[in-house]
Each structure stands twice: as structure tokens, then as C-alpha cells.
């Protein structure tokens, strides 16, 4: 470790925040760009599964809540891209990497939303798992990232409550609604568990990231915490977690539960998930069809700048 690196690590260890213009190891910068970028992409792509139901929301109030939520997600994308930009990468560069498949987004968004109950399940389970990942990141070492996380977590926990409220309505509703709720839980349970990443023993880069406080907990710790919080919520809804092996382990003070099917996880990452093509296709399409729009605004800005410059010259 060089003296600079040592000094850097000591600051991190003292829980000092690292700020954009300060020295940081190259690996720290790169890892952060990847992590924040992927998080930003996930917010953007994450608009799609829920956006899928906005035009079909069953009441005006539900429609308004869902619109607000999807809008928040786009907003989170904005904060996160801004945080990534402080590390010396542009939003357009990150977008190009997303669209070319060189950067990923969270695999959970490659699952379809098939019934209205999925609007509940996504809020409850997906946002729930996201919060579990994000809450500790409020204390991450990189200042802009930490501040973005603080803002985001506040909104996410609101979203999670809204999702749970939808689940409640469905689970306590008509038999068809209850069936939809159970089906949504069945479909989203294991994908939600996958959101914490592979088991610690199979997880690369973890140790360094934890030393840098880019990652605050191990995947397995967070997954356990998620299961422990979520199972009683499912019980309260009167729904059955789709895991026959699930049982309370008095000794460890937590649940024993089945691992997700990691081969499915890797298939989805490889592009074979149910909606990979739709999701990335939709984003590519939006980007390509929006080129004229972005170019138009740029051209106007250039013209306006030139006009101001001319006006200044004329005035002199």
C-alpha cells in the first residue's frame, strides 16, 4: 500500500467522507462508477415493470400513487447519475454502456409484472430488498453517494409501505384478488432473494469493497435480515411464502430458508430472463427515437449562446 493509499484507507476507517476532488485509489473510483452506475441504470430500467400498469391502474388514486412512484424512480436515477458524474464519467457514457450491454442493471427488473398484485409485490419485496441493501449505504465512504442514498432511502421506504398497502388490499380482497396476491408472492419471492447477490462464498470483490465501505454488509447477512423481516409480513397478509423448507431457527434467532435457484440467476444475467429483451429493447428504442429531440435542444442551446455572444459584441 502506498502512503496515499494508506492515508485514504485511514480516512475511510475513521468514517470520513471522501469528496469528489480528493485523491482516491483508481480501483475505488472504478468500483464506485460501476456500482453507482448500475444502481442508476436499475432505477431507470426499473420504471418499466411498474410503468406497465400505470395506464391500467384500477382507481384514480392508485394511478396517481403509481405515477408518483415511477417518477421518483426516475428522480433517483438522476441523483445517482449525478453522483457518478462526480467521479469523472458522463451520464451519456453510462447510458451508452447500459444500451450496449456493457453495464448491467438489477436482474429483478427482467421479471414481468403480470397482474395488479405485482404492483404490490414489487413495492413490498423489491423495494424492500433494495432498502435493505441501501440503508447501510447511507454510511458509505463516498460523500455524494452517501448523500444520494439518504435521499433515496427516505422515498423508498415510503414506496415499500405503499406496496404493502396494495398487497393488503389484494390479500384481503375477493378470492381472485387473493389469488393474484399469492401468485405475485410466488413469482417474486426468489427473485427478491437474488437481489442480494450470490452467497458470500461465491461473491467476488466483496472484501475490498467492504474495506472501502462501498459495501457495508455481506450478501448473506442482508438476505437473512430481509427474510426475517418479510416472513412475518407475509403471515400478516395471510399469504404463504413459496418455500416449504422455511422454518424458524431459535438458535440463530432467524429463519432457515431455501436458497434461490442460482442457475436461474445466472441465466437471467446472461440475458435469458423473461424480459431482458423487452427491457433493454425499450430503453434502446427510447434512446434512438429521442436522438432528434436531444440534438434539437443542443442545437438551440448553441444558437442561443451564439446570439448572446453576438448581442454582447454589438453592444460594445
Amino acid at each position: 500500500m502506498s502512503p496515499e493509499e494508506r492515508a485514504f484507507q485511514e480516512r475511510v476507517d475513521r468514517n470520513e467522507k471522501i469528496e469528489p476532488k480528493e485523491w482516491m485509489p483508481d480501483g475505488y473510483r472504478k468500483t464506485l462508477i460501476r456500482q453507482i452506475g448500475q444502481h442508476a441504470h436499475s432505477e431507470i430500467v426499473g420504471q418499466l415493470p411498474e410503468g406497465n400498469w400505470i395506464t391500467r391502474a384500477p382507481t384514480l388514486e392508485r394511478k396517481a400513487i403509481l405515477l408518483a412512484k415511477v417518477q421518483d424512480e426516475a428522480g433517483h436515477g438522476l441523483y445517482l447519475y449525478s453522483a457518478a458524474e462526480t467521479l469523472g464519467v458522463t451520464r451519456d457514457e453510462l447510458t451508452e454502456k447500459l444500451l450496449s450491454g456493457n453495464m448491467k442493471y438489477s436482474s429483478i427488473f427482467n421479471y414481468p409484472t403480470l397482474t395488479w398484485a405485482d404492483m404490490g409485490a414489487v413495492g413490498w419485496l423489491v423495494d424492500g430488498a433494495a432498502i435493505m441493501n441501501q440503508v447501510p449505504l447511507q454510511r458509505t465512504s463516498y460523500g455524494p453517494y452517501s448523500r444520494a442514498m439518504i435521499r433515496i432511502c427516505k422515498e423508498e421506504s415510503f414506496h415499500q409501505r405503499q406496496g404493502y398497502a396494495i398487497m393488503m388490499k389484494m390479500a384481503k380482497g375477493t378470492p381472485e384478488q387473493k389469488e393474484m396476491a399469492q401468485d405475485a408472492l410466488n413469482r417474486f419471492w426468489f427473485p427478491a432473494l437474488m437481489m442480494f447477490g450470490p452467497s458470500d462464498k461465491d461473491s467476488v470483490h466483496s472484501a475490498q469493497s467492504m474495506a472501502w465501505k462501498i459495501k457495508m454488509n455481506t450478501n448473506d447477512e442482508l438476505r437473512q435480515k430481509f427474510v426475517d423481516e418479510t416472513v412475518p409480513q407475509a403471515e400478516y397478509l395471510g399469504l404463504t411464502v413459496p418455500d416449504e423448507t422455511l422454518s424458524w431457527n431459535e438458535e440463530k434467532g432467524g429463519y432457515d430458508f431455501a436458497e434461490p435457484d442460482w442457475s436461474e440467476f445466472f441465466e437471467v444475467i446472461k440475458g435469458n430472463g423473461p424480459c431482458n429483451e423487452e427491457r433493454l429493447g425499450a430503453r434502446r428504442d427510447a434512446w434512438e427515437k429521442g436522438a432528434w429531440f436531444r440534438e434539437g435542444l443542443t442545437a438551440y442551446a448553441d444558437k442561443a449562446a451564439a446570439r448572446r455572444a453576438n448581442a454582447l459584441v454589438a453592444a460594445e
Binding site: 431507470i44 420504471q47 418499466l48 410503468g51 400505470i54 395506464t55 391500467r56 391502474a57 384500477p58 382507481t59 384514480l60 388514486e61 392508485r62 394511478k63 396517481a64 405515477l67 408518483a68 415511477v70 417518477q71 426516475a74 428522480g75 436515477g77 438522476l78 447519475y81 451520464r91 395488479w116 396494495i166 388490499k169 380482497g173 375477493t174 381472485e176 384478488q177 425499450a282 428504442d285 427510447a286 434512446w287 427515437k289 429521442g290 436522438a291 432528434w292 429531440f293 436531444r294 440534438e295 434539437g296 435542444l297 443542443t298 442545437a299 438551440y300 442551446a301 444558437k303
Partner: protein, 250 residues
């Protein structure tokens, strides 16, 4: 009273259907800021829908709620302008439509803040704040894209030509409009036209766009329930859950 109800449905349905169209962009906008702005506008409009249709339901006093009105009427009973139900097209069409409607909406709500109905005046005052911002934003984008690249100019001009024949319906008063105007609930629609024209002229001029030469009132009927073929598809999608699961609570 039936005229007041009908008129309130017009207000609510315009907001609902335009909000629906804008919400279709969610996640598909050309830049993130635009995604957010469109979702935000849609959200405002759904809020207006709740207020207008809520009041309509009260005025009707037949046990129907705002949701019933939104989700359980078929196309013939919808009272929105044809303009707001047209497909989004490219972002040029979407923004030009917003601008043409916002400019009208702004004048209308401004006048409605002086309505003899305190409820109407109150809703209008709330909505006006948001719509002022809608108009500001859509004017600004029309100007920037009109005076942008050759392509963006051409697209904005094409959008304007496409939408122009649908704008006249906003100012075409019928018996319903006359009745609410007479009651002092709403302004004479024709009285809003000069200021709308002025706004449009100014923005188009700055956007280097030419006002179309066609009639601006060739396409009417939405306010009386005679829509385009597009509305039926909007409703089939929007109303699916309420229709498929009658009486369920969400």
C-alpha cells in the same frame, strides 16, 4: 344541473385522457428530465381529474364516485376533446399537443377562478398553479425544438399541422357551454380565443414555425361524445380491472 354535470365531465375527462396519454411515455422518454416532467404533468392531470369528476359525481348526486365516472363509462359518455385522445406520435406531437392544450387550459382556468361556483373557483385556483407551469414548460420546449435542428423543426411543424384541425373544438361552444356561461360558472369560450391565439402566435413565431393554413375547427364532436376511433382503445386498457372485477376494492 345536467349541463353543469356534463361540463364538469368535460373538464375531468380532458384531464384524465390527456394524463393517460402522457403517462404512456413513462420510462420511454428521450431524456430522463423529460420522463420526469411528463410523469409529473400526468400526475397533476390525474389530480385534476379527481377534483373535477369528484365534483361531477356530487353534482349528479346519483351515488356514483369519481372512479365510477372514470372507469365505468363507455366512449359515448366521455366528454373530452378529440385533441387529447389522439395518439402520442413522436415527442414532437406530444409536446405540441400539450402546448396547444395548455395555452387554452391556462386561459380557461384563469377565467374559472372567478366562477360563480365557489367549488369550481377553488379547483381552478389549485389547478392553475400547476397548469401555469405546464404552459411555461411546453412553450419553452416548442420554441427550442422549433428553432433547433432542421429535423426537429420539421417534426414540430408536422406535429402542428397534424393537430391544428383539432384545436377549434376547444372554443366551439354548444348548449352545455352556453348554459354554464349563462350561469356564470364558466366563461364564454369564444372570449378565450383571442388570448389563446396571441400566445400561440408568439410562441410559434419564436419557434420559427408557421401557423397552418387549414381550418382549425374541422375536427369536433368529442365534447358531445362523438370521438375518434382511438378513445375506445384507451378505455379498454384503462378500465380493464374495474370491468373485469366489478365491485372489488383496490
Amino acid at each position: 344541473q345536467p349541463a353543469f354535470f356534463d361540463w364538469l365531465c368535460r373538464m375531468g375527462d380532458n384531464a384524465l385522457i390527456l394524463g393517460h396519454r402522457l403517462s404512456e411515455w413513462c420510462g420511454h422518454g428521450p431524456v430522463l428530465e423529460e420522463d420526469i416532467a411528463l410523469a409529473n404533468t400526468a400526475l397533476d392531470l390525474i389530480g385534476h381529474t379527481q377534483m373535477w369528476l369528484g365534483l361531477a359525481a356530487e353534482v349528479e348526486d346519483a351515488g356514483r364516485s369519481a372512479d365510477d365516472l372514470a372507469y365505468l363509462r363507455d366512449a359515448m359518455k366521455f366528454r373530452n376533446l378529440k385533441l387529447v385522445e389522439l395518439p402520442n406520435g413522436d415527442m414532437g406531437v406530444t409536446l405540441m399537443r400539450e402546448f396547444l392544450f395548455d395555452a387554452f387550459h391556462f386561459e380557461l382556468l384563469t377565467a374559472l377562478t372567478h366562477s360563480t361556483s365557489p367549488r369550481v373557483a377553488e379547483i381552478a385556483a389549485k389547478a392553475l398553479k400547476e397548469v401555469s407551469y405546464h404552459l411555461e414548460r411546453s412553450s419553452d420546449l416548442v420554441i427550442r425544438l422549433g428553432d433547433g435542428t432542421e429535423e426537429s423543426h420539421a417534426r414540430m411543424q408536422a406535429a402542428l399541422e397534424r393537430l391544428w384541425p383539432y384545436t377549434g373544438e376547444m372554443f366551439a361552444a354548444d348548449a352545455v357551454d352556453d348554459a354554464v356561461a349563462e350561469a356564470g360558472i364558466a366563461p364564454e369560450l369564444a372570449a378565450l380565443l383571442p388570448r389563446w391565439q396571441q400566445t400561440v402566435d408568439e410562441v410559434l413565431a419564436e419557434a420559427t414555425l408557421s401557423k397552418p393554413e387549414q381550418r382549425f375547427d374541422a375536427q369536433k364532436g368529442g365534447k358531445q361524445g362523438r370521438h375518434t376511433e382511438h378513445l375506445g382503445f384507451i378505455l379498454a386498457e384503462m378500465q380493464f380491472l374495474q370491468r373485469a372485477y366489478p365491485g372489488a376494492s383496490w
